[in-house]
């Protein structure tokens, strides 16, 4: 279990005063108009292990399954792009209210911080692509206009967006004294997927401290995957999903650029799953048709150190969709498939500039390998979110099973994807 938080350092009263409106009806409350039906409600902690941590989890590549032709960066993660940091806060709690009704919290927040965490001083070129808009990513109206990313990127559960946005504003205010005098005030980028299959999402248990903890804990290097951070309550392809990441580093003769992708995956159904073209989902359905429902949305973030402009990053964002398609997902009506791509290759002063500045641009002729690298990294990131996730039990006894790795390997062998590898 990763970063599961205990209740000790945690004040219930303060948390619930913020959420006093959405808890269940009180006795006799129906006599009051709805806006007066306020109630403090106490929840108590119940101990239990919602995650079966025994089963070993591996990244796709560690299983011998290799996607595409380009090599990953050192960590095979979005953090291979210089200066990009990732932090998670995972909230896994078993609670019960006064009447004994259990409340299962499986949520959290993941933050992506460019520029070695120093996000507000310099802005980065960025682009957004709306593959299927049944989702939320705040801050996009101005981002699309300005073509620049000005804040950290937060990934969380659907109903946490307001609270995470608010915490993001707190962080902005803390880091940027004098922000009120700025010509344009940055709008935080907060994206969501619906974690309601595993989590009692109405409780909205996330706090400002949780968000700030994710920011404080953000770092480069290897990235925790699966049911962590914003991905804690997510299910994907009928299995436990969540956070996944991957990267590609092009050789020097192809420009030596790196592209990294991080996803919060909560989309598609089991029978759709394809791994490197193999219909793994269909094969697995023969073995077990009991798949968790309620899956919707995937947020995909691509980062590159190639000095791309916004319009080129938009093309990268569209290639991210192609990677998504290769995993078999088809963007269901209720799947908010939103893509944000940014480049660390040019850094623009947040406080503006009174003289022209030099911008580096990539020769269009050389971008093609980067597109393929993006497709590959996206596919692998989504699959990593599956293979790294542990089985999780949540709301109302719902279980999201981890994808069985032995069976995955077995199927891939049957389709000759693991030939030449020692049989173990």
């Amino acid at each position: 279990m990763a970063g599961g938080r205990k209740g000790g350092s945690f004040s219930y009263g303060r948390v619930f005063s913020r959420r006093q409106f959405m808890l269940g009806s009180l006795v006799g409350a129906s006599l009051l108009p709805w806006w007066r039906q306020l109630g403090e409600k106490s929840l108590r902690e119940e101990g239990a292990a919602p995650v079966s941590a025994e089963e070993p989890r591996k990244r796709l590549r560690e299983l011998g399954i290799v996607i595409g032709k380009y090599s990953p960066g050192n960590y095979n993660a979005i953090t291979d792009v210089e200066g990009v940091w990732v932090g998670h806060t995972t909230i896994i709690r078993n609670l019960a209210d006064a009447s004994g009704r259990e409340r299962r919290i499986r949520t959290g927040v993941t933050v992506i911080l460019p520029n070695h965490g120093d996000v507000y001083r310099e802005h980065l070129f960025a682009a957004f692509f709306n593959q299927n808009g049944w989702g939320e990513m705040t801050g996009i109206a101005p981002l699309q206009e300005e073509g620049r990313l000005k804040t950290p990127i937060f990934l969380t559960g659907t109903h946490n967006v307001g609270l995470v946005y608010d915490a993001a504003v707190s962080h902005l205010l803390r880091e940027c004294p004098g922000i009120l005098e700025e010509r344009v005030i940055p709008s935080p980028v907060v994206a969501e997927c619906f974690d309601g299959y595993l989590s009692d999402y109405q409780e909205r248990m996330i706090t400002e401290a949780d968000v700030l903890e994710a920011i404080r804990g953000a770092k480069g290097g290897s990235v925790e995957e699966g049911g962590v951070g914003g991905g804690t309550g997510m299910t994907t392809f009928g299995f436990k999903g969540g956070i996944g990441t991957s990267s590609r580093r092009l050789s020097r003769d192809k420009g030596g650029c790196t592209v990294g992708v991080l996803v919060m995956s909560n989309t598609a159904s089991r029978e759709q799953l394809r791994v490197d073209g193999v219909p793994v989902g269909k094969e697995m359905e023969k073995w077990d048709r009991n798949t968790p429902g309620g899956s919707k949305s995937i947020i995909l973030i691509a980062a590159t150190d190639a000095p791309l402009f916004s319009f080129q990053l938009r093309k990268i964002a569209k290639r991210v969709v192609m990677g998504l398609a290769q995993t078999g997902a088809t963007s269901n009506t209720s799947s908010g498939d939103l893509i944000l791509a940014f480049s660390t290759g040019n850094r623009l002063p947040a406080r503006g500039s009174s003289h022209p500045r030099q911008i580096i641009a990539v020769n269009e002729e050389l971008i093609t390998p980067l597109y393929q690298a993006t497709v590959e990294a996206t596919q692998e990131a989504i699959l990593n979110s599956l293979t790294m996730a542990h089985t999780m039990e949540g709301k109302g006894g719902n279980i999201a099973p981890a994808i069985p790795l032995d069976r995955l390997v077995q199927i891939m062998k049957r389709y000759y994807r693991l030939e030449g590898r020692r049989d173990d």
């Binding site: 409106f21 959405m22 939320e136 101005p142 307001g162 946005y165 504003v169 010509r183 344009v184 908010g336």
Partner: protein, 362 residues
């Protein structure tokens, strides 16, 4: 202070179409508007009291216990602020949530408050639509004193009657064109085939710059006298426009209405400023979609019949902008700044210069 009256109460007829009974967005049946204004000094850790000049304005597009989806279209250009729920508006053209205007830094809490209202009503109001406006010229926006209960009060007290304008709700801390800005509203009755439909708008004028001041920057202060703008704001402006109509428009037509109404404001928006424009139809709606049938029936009106509505869109926004300035009352804000209401003569003069009146108004 000069008397504050709406544009029409100065005896000026404006535009080609008659207004609705209230000359407000609430002339579109089912649409309600609520304001919450917060004007206070609040002590802070640093010792200097925070000067709170802010609020919430909510447009409730349908009677809330209903499980209803409205069709909506948007046009966004150089926005100085954020609009949440934008992906759904842009890609699905659905509107379920109230449209709430507030200051940028409170957008998260207000977003969360809309979710709370949804939980309480057991209705899916997702995605919440919150338009964040930068009122920090007068307001200590970093104090973030607005809370969920204030939003709930706004939505609960929203009414389909007269709409307060000027320095009220989200407009308390807004300035525009060098004067006090705020909330403005107006409406039109427009012929549509054999019937008459209503078109209403509510605007917020946030940090807008007068295009003519921009042009005349080099020669400022020569003979403007007391008609020169009272303050200079170095901020990206936003004209927030929310249009409501009972005409049965489809999403692409609503997008057209949002766009035409926004682009019709050439004389009101400088290159420093942006526009966030939303338009929704209160009649082409979907009820109880989750257990709905396979297909729905909507009404479609051919575009050539919509041109009166589109030109009404241009004039109704202009009148609402004028009302937001004319109805504004003085507000003293942070750092001893003062939002001074525009002298009505100046506004009339500007309208005259732009050919909006045939003869000089005074």
């Amino acid at each position: 202070m000069t008397e504050r009256k709406r544009l029409r109460d100065w005896g000026l007829k404006f535009g080609a179409y008659p207004t609705g009974p209230l000359n407000a967005i609430t002339d579109v049946s089912g649409v309600k508007v609520g304001h919450f204004s917060m004007i206070k000094e609040e002590s802070s850790f640093s010792g200097t009291p925070k000067c709170i000049r802010t609020g919430i304005t909510a447009i409730v597009p349908y009677s809330l216990p209903l499980e209803r989806r409205l069709l909506v279209g948007s046009f966004v250009m150089r926005p100085g602020g954020d609009v949440t729920g934008y992906e759904v508006i842009d890609d699905f053209s659905y509107l379920k949530s109230p449209i709430v205007l507030t200051n940028t830094f409170s957008a998260g809490r207000i977003y969360n408050g809309i979710l709370s209202i949804g939980f309480r009503l057991k209705r899916d109001l997702w995605p919440p639509i919150v338009i964040g406006l930068d009122d920090s010229y007068l307001n200590d926006m970093d104090a973030r004193t607005l809370q969920e209960e204030h939003l709930i009060e706004v939505v609960e007290t929203a009414s389909s009657g007269r709409v307060a304008e000027g320095a009220v709700g989200a407009g308390v801390g807004l300035v525009s064109y060098g004067w006090k800005g705020g909330i403005g509203t107006s409406s039109r009755q427009v012929p549509l085939l054999a019937e008459v439909c209503h078109l209403g708008v509510l605007v917020a004028t946030c940090n807008l710059h007068s295009p003519s001041t921009v042009l005349e920057e080099g020669e400022k202060g020569e003979d403007d006298g007391e008609l020169s703008p009272s303050l200079e704001v170095d901020k990206a402006g936003t004209l927030a426009i929310v249009l409501a109509t009972d005409a049965p428009l489809l999403p692409y037509q609503l997008k057209g209405l949002a766009r035409e109404s926004a682009l019709g404001q050439a004389g009101f928006v400088s290159p420093h400023d942006g526009i966030i424009s939303l338009a929704f139809s209160a009649t082409n709606v979907i009820d109880n979609a989750e257990e709905g049938p396979l297909t729905y029936r909507f009404q479609w009106i051919e575009e050539k019949n919509l041109s009166p509505l589109l030109s009404a869109g241009k004039e109704v926004v202009k009148e609402a902008v004028a009302n937001s300035l004319l109805m504004a009352t003085p507000v003293e804000g942070r750092m001893d700044r003062e939002g001074v209401p525009i002298p009505p003569e100046l506004l009339k003069q500007r309208f005259f210069e732009q050919g909006l009146w045939k003869k000089p108004p005074f």
